[in-house]
């Protein structure tokens, strides 16, 4: 059986697609056959972050409407043999998504022997987001250390407990909180919500904290998932997160203000 994981947040711009790309790549690099689906129909972005935008022939909606089969639409990643991307359609809108269609695609992927199916949810709580979460076994809730993002995540947690197949069957989705764009320095100066405050409000197990890093933007623009940037703090934090998801116990890093050494203080850093 495939494990279906939705990456969701409610609020836009918090790093869902960056996280989906890094997460799926990380799972694939650990040897798991992984598919990542872009549910943001009409605002196709995942293929850009994954660096496969020039290889899109068929998309998710084509498969749902029967114009292509799943094998034709899946794009094999250049960097890993285990990773496949199912892009969204850019010319359609989210109404083209149907629950039966989504279920069929997920079943096809399960039958194909995928270990993990990562669903990259669009922002909001409408159709696209609702269908991205409906069949999920696990949910990664991406939150920025900022009040509106935390409130929207709280709303999404409520929906995960009521508007999913698991909830309808009386089971629980596994919820994991991932805090992104975390800046210990700004927390210390009081500009940003601290991790403890977010956990207090959301009361969901923490699976990772990704520090604010310039490498995330660079990675997005160059179409290389940031987890592949082993030098960057964000890349390392994403790797920790994937390992925790797979059951390893990994201590949290990058939570304290980095103490600048003499060299950095003299030359900047």
């Amino acid at each position: 059986m495939s494990r279906i994981v939705v990456v969701t947040s409610g609020k836009g711009g918090v790093g869902k697609t960056t996280t989906s790309a890094a997460f799926a790549t990380g799972l694939a690099l650990k040897g798991y056959k992984t598919a990542v689906i872009d549910f943001d129909v009409g605002l196709r972005n995942l293929d850009l972050i994954m660096g496969c935008e020039r290889r899109v022939v068929y998309d998710f909606i084509n498969v749902i409407s029967g114009e292509a089969n799943i094998k034709q639409a899946l794009i094999k990643d250049k960097r890993s043999d285990n990773l496949f991307i199912l892009p969204a359609s850019q010319t359609r809108d989210k109404d083209a998504l149907t629950q039966d269609g989504v279920e069929k695609v997920l079943k096809d992927l399960t039958d194909d022997g995928f270990d993990f199916i990562v669903c990259d949810s669009p922002a909001g709580i409408e159709r696209g987001a609702a269908l991205a979460m409906y069949f999920a076994d696990d949910a990664i809730i991406v939150t920025n250390p900022e009040v509106s993002s935390v409130r929207d995540s709280d709303r999404i947690l409520g929906l995960l407990q009521s508007r999913t197949r698991k909830a309808e069957r009386g089971e629980n989705i596994h919820e994991h909180l991932l805090i992104t764009r975390y800046s210990p320095a700004r927390v210390a100066s009081g500009d940003m919500l601290a991790m403890e405050d977010i956990l207090e409000i959301l009361a969901v197990p923490l699976i990772g904290v990704i520090p604010e890093s310039v490498s995330v933007l660079q990675a997005s623009n160059s179409g290389v998932p940031v987890i592949l940037d082993k030098e960057s703090t964000a890349g390392q934090a994403y790797d920790d997160f994937v390992r925790r998801f797979l059951g390893e116990t990994v201590p949290h890093r990058f939570l304290e203000v980095e103490k600048k050494g003499l060299f950095k203080r003299l030359f900047g850093g």
Binding site: D154, R155, L157, G158, E200, I201, A203
Partner: protein
């Protein structure tokens, strides 16, 4: 546009009802005469309905022609009969009476005197009297227990809403809105471990947390209604 000449409408008007206790025409006319003398001003030319419910079967013996005559003679305008024994209907119609549909109310004479007012609202059978939640109440979630208490074993989030006919207990931070006694129960109370609510209300009297003394924010409190004022006390 064509001018409207008449309108036919079904309306309720206040009418005097004459309740007959006996079918004896002679006693009726005597009693009626006495009544009219006592209140001639009040009853003159007033339309009247004759209620025959108390007569039951004896309604058959009533002389409907004579009844109409007697009523008119005393200056009343007979409108019709109601609650007449079914077998007597043809006889009444033949005498020129109109038959009115029976009123839903009992004749005034039969209404038991009001001795006590039932203050506790009657709950329908098998309603939920207690709702216990062991998960946090999230933003956008609404918990509704119209006739009972709500107990939350975790926190409630900003943007959530608890609506209870009875009291509300929150064993955690209370951050959303909370409305107790929504059916008007002024004895309903709100208890929470940490008061951070946006809005609190009991039986329709509400307060925003913005207005609340800051020393109570974040405290364990009980909220109750004292006359018309919401009182918040630490516990």
């Amino acid at each position: 546009m064509k001018e409207q000449i008449i309108d036919l409408k079904g309306e309720m008007s206040l009418l005097t009802v004459l309740v007959l206790h006996s079918g004896n025409m002679h006693s009726i006319s005597t009693a009626l005469e006495t009544k009219c003398q006592q209140a001639s001003q009040f009853l003159e030319r007033s339309p009247i309905i004759i209620d025959c419910q108390l007569l039951g079967e004896t309604g058959l013996e009533l002389d409907f022609v004579e009844l109409k005559l007697q009523v008119s003679k005393l200056g009343l305008v007979p409108v019709g009969l109601r609650n007449l024994w079914e077998e007597a209907e043809a006889k009444a119609l033949a005498a020129g009476w109109a038959l009115l549909r029976p009123s839903k109310q009992q004749p005034t004479a039969n209404i038991p005197p009001v001795t006590e007012v039932n203050l506790t609202p009657e709950y329908p059978e098998a309603v939920q009297r207690l709702l216990v939640l062991d998960r946090p109440v999230r933003s956008g979630q609404q918990v509704y227990c119209p006739y009972g208490d709500i107990v939350v074993l975790q926190h409630t989030s900003a943007g959530s809403e608890l609506l209870a006919g009875g009291s509300v207990h929150v064993y955690g931070a209370l951050r959303g809105r909370v409305l107790a006694g929504i059916q008007g129960d002024i004895q309903a109370r709100i208890f929470c471990e940490r008061l951070e609510a946006e809005l609190i209300a009991i039986a329709g009297r509400y307060r925003l947390l913005d207005e609340i003394e800051s020393n109570l924010k974040g405290q364990s409190v009980m909220i109750y209604l004292d006359q018309e004022k919401l009182k918040i006390v630490p516990i």
